[in-house]
């Protein structure tokens, strides 16, 4: 089962994992990304490209399914204005065995970071600023190329 949701509201990790579960699932790996409290950061505002976002995430999930035997994937990404401590993204992967669940979860995060059309704008005491893409995220995504 594949679930992809873009939403403003928060999500409940436990409820999402319960909804994802099939009876023959032995392993569920999840990743939750949050707004870190750091310095004078007031908020993060997430913009996206609505016509493209779910399609691109769908392609990333298909890529993961071609690489590992997965029983279910749930991806939830929030948009709008988020405060320090707020959850931003959930990736949950169910598989028979833990190796596939871990690898696919990490792959999905690396690809979300470098391919899904979201942009973060930081709001600090001094004003707003668009977050720069990080080279380390490109490197993380490149690891999967030849695998």
């Amino acid at each position: 089962m594949i679930t992809i949701r873009i939403q403003r509201k928060d999500f409940d990790i436990g409820a999402e994992v319960a909804a994802l579960d099939a009876e023959d699932t032995g392993a569920v790996a999840t990743f939750t990304g949050k707004v870190r409290k750091e310095g004078d950061l007031v908020a993060l505002t997430l913009e996206h490209y609505p016509q493209m976002t779910e399609r691109e995430i769908g392609r990333i999930v298909e890529d993961a399914k071609a690489r590992w035997p997965l029983m279910g994937v749930t991806i939830i990404h929030r948009v709008g204005r988020l405060l320090p401590g707020d959850k931003i993204v959930l990736v949950a992967v169910a598989a028979k065995h833990r190796g596939a669940a871990f690898d696919a979860c990490e792959f999905l995060m690396d690809y979300l970071k470098t391919r899904a059309p979201f942009w973060k704008e930081e709001e600090r005491d001094g004003g707003t600023r668009w977050v720069e893409a990080r080279h380390s995220d490109d490197k993380a995504a490149e690891r999967w190329r030849d695998k």
């Binding site: 990404h77 668009w130 977050v131 720069e132 893409a133």
Partner: protein
Amino acid sequence: MTLLYFAWVRQKTGRGEEQLFLPADVKTVSDLIAFLAKRGGGFADAFADPRRIRVAINQEHTGFDTPLRDGDEVAFFPPVTGG
């Protein structure tokens, strides 16, 4: 064609979306970027360094060499920073 702009590309150009008749000499994404930069003002600023820009055609990431067709939805944006 439909042009879409996101994040600081949207802010610099001052618009999120526009309709454009594909000019005859604009064959590829690169040509379109040069055409838009020539508008001057915020567009010149937004497209001053194409290496900072990414493009999607019809909701798929693509490169600057891709040929354009009228009716395409072309989106310009900075490297993505979600997740």
